[in-house]
């Protein structure tokens, strides 16, 4: 094994992990505030990619406006993030909030989330059909190579965006008032409404953040792998959820590290073993990790009073 292949795989793993990390951030944000596993999140990612596709087609395919492609790309990302946030918030308003108001068992909300995901997936399949679509090439792919190691500009962009998104989120959570409120809710959900914090508004904000991260991941994903299909969010969503749990769900850093960890495991397993073993080894490692440290890498166990 020479160092060239090692570094090459390292870069691939960084890119692959970036997607997981961005999606896992959404899971962990919602979980931190609501203690809800938002199983529809993987499909929010899919919706983000499709909305991105829609905006990209509209912006490039018409004869009215001619914009440089890089502006189109940025507009696609931003518009898709905004539109997907609406989808996420709508889900919260229509499906989760009524249940929360009633104070039903947490499990029922989880099942509702799972079902919302199925509706998004199959609704898409019913409306747009099963045919795969290819995302228009908005950024011309250039490949740089340094002594046998190749890296494309898209790969650099994905990795850098993931890190920037993480830092921005971390700043929002640590430095702003609304971030403080989010942390406060996850710390003590009984006292927070008594302190005059508008819980519903915080929850909506959380969904906006999570969904826009998923949309960002979605558009980046189809830029790197330009194929869209209705079930694209299912597998990657489940895996990102696992990444979030491994990192310690509810912890931003945990989701980020967990995402990259899963990316690294998958890429390096595929590099050293037959690639069909990828899922097997990745999930076995996670199983062992969770058995040894049940709260995830960054999670902490809450003590129960008897």
């Amino acid at each position: 094994m020479d160092s060239q292949i090692l570094i090459q795989n390292f870069l691939n793993a960084l890119q692959w992990g970036s997607f997981y990390a961005l999606i896992a951030l959404g899971y962990t944000l919602v979980y931190g505030v609501l203690l809800l596993i938002n199983f529809a999140h993987g499909d929010i990612f899919m919706v983000g990619a499709y909305l991105g596709f829609f905006f990209a087609i509209v912006l490039t395919g018409n004869s009215l406006i001619h914009l440089p492609l890089w502006i189109v790309f940025i507009m696609t990302v931003v518009l898709s993030m905004i539109a997907t946030s609406f989808v996420g918030v709508t889900l919260e308003r229509v499906a989760y909030r009524p249940l929360r108001r009633k104070g039903t068992n947490r499990l029922y909300v989880v099942i509702t989330a799972l079902m919302c995901g199925l509706i998004l997936e199959n609704g898409n399949l019913a409306v747009f059909g099963a045919s795969r679509r290819s995302f228009p090439e908005l950024i011309e792919k250039t490949i740089y190579s340094f002594g046998g190691i190749t890296i494309s500009n898209i790969k650099i962009m994905v990795i850098v965006t993931a890190f920037v998104a993480f830092i921005v989120l971390e700043m929002i959570i640590r430095k702003t008032r609304i971030g403080m409120a989010m942390r406060a809710i996850s710390y003590d959900r009984v006292a927070v409404p008594l302190m005059g914090i508008p819980v519903d508004r915080i929850i909506v904000f959380t969904f906006v953040l999570g969904s826009s991260m998923a949309a960002l991941a979605g558009v980046l994903f189809v830029t790197a792998y330009p194929v869209l299909e209705p079930y694209m969010g299912a597998t990657i969503g489940w895996k990102a959820f696992i990444a979030a749990v491994v990192g310690g769900i509810g912890e931003i850093r945990g989701a980020f590290v967990g995402g990259f960890l899963l990316g690294f495991i998958e890429i390096f397993v595929a590099a050293f073993f037959p690639s069909t073993l990828r899922d097997l080894i990745a999930f076995s490692v996670l199983l062992v990790l969770l058995s040894v440290k049940p709260t995830g890498l960054f999670g902490f166990s809450r003590s129960t009073k008897i």
Partner: protein, 336 residues
Amino acid sequence: MLHSLHTCRYWILYALFSFTIIFGVHHEWVNAYIQLIMMFIGINIILSSSLNIINGYMGEFSCGHAGFMAVGAYVTSVLNVWLFASDRVFGPAVLSGNWILLLFPLTLLIGGLAAAFAGLLVAIPSFNTRGDYLAIITLAVNYIVKSSIENIQTIGGARGFMGMRKVVNAMGDVWDIPWMMIFVLIFTGFSVWVIWRFVSSTYGKGIIAIREDEIAAEIMSVNTQQMKITAFMLSSGLAGIAGGLFAHVLGYINPGSFTIMKSTEIMVMVYLGGMGSLSGSVISAVFFTILLELLRPLQVIKWVVIPLMLILLMMFRPEGIMGNREIRDFFPGKRK
């Protein structure tokens, strides 16, 4: 004495019911399609009531039930094809066809046993992991099982495994009556009976105690670790039996039949019926299987309609059809 008479009555009723069905099927009062649906109803009853042990009575969130089903399906199918059918990989039949009626239930039980041991993969981490973290472990086990099968080329890998049709035909050669229907009926009755005896026994009430409060249960001398192992092994073992039946009814299995989607389907049945209600699970399995078939003309939209129904159910009647009551509770006069 009175008690044994009481339980006897259910057995007699079930036997009569089964004989009617078998008689009807044998004389072809119903076509092959209806027969298939009837068998799927039986299998789904086993699946939903066995998952109810974990998700209902024990209050955990297991979302990898299809994984255990896969273990049972593959173990049973491989054993039967090896023993009773000539196959490209496993060579000619090892035993003569006359043994099959005796050994088929046994292979189903062996499949169930293998699935029960796979259930240990979840049971052991469950000692100190609960809730969402345990959910992820069940999910990972589902992926691990599916992925392992995909990587074993002798049993077909991702292409799937077949040859069970020959096994079923071998049964018909011995005596031409609808054997698969008989086995489905026997094992459905067996599973429901085992689960009912388990959850209504003093011993089995331990899992309900764990759901309500694990620490209190531990203090009240419930051996929680043993209880969890029993519950998980029983649940996954019965899922394995259902898998074995599923494989032989269908005649062909591939790893794609045992994905998270399948697990979700079983979960839907449990929550539709009501957590912690055995009769609820049975009723919802019957209802859901028929509903799936009725909605088949809708094709893709089917999977929009069904989740939508469940969401509405969660909003307006989150406890499911039966809540945690049993059907007997509606007939107070029949109570012991």
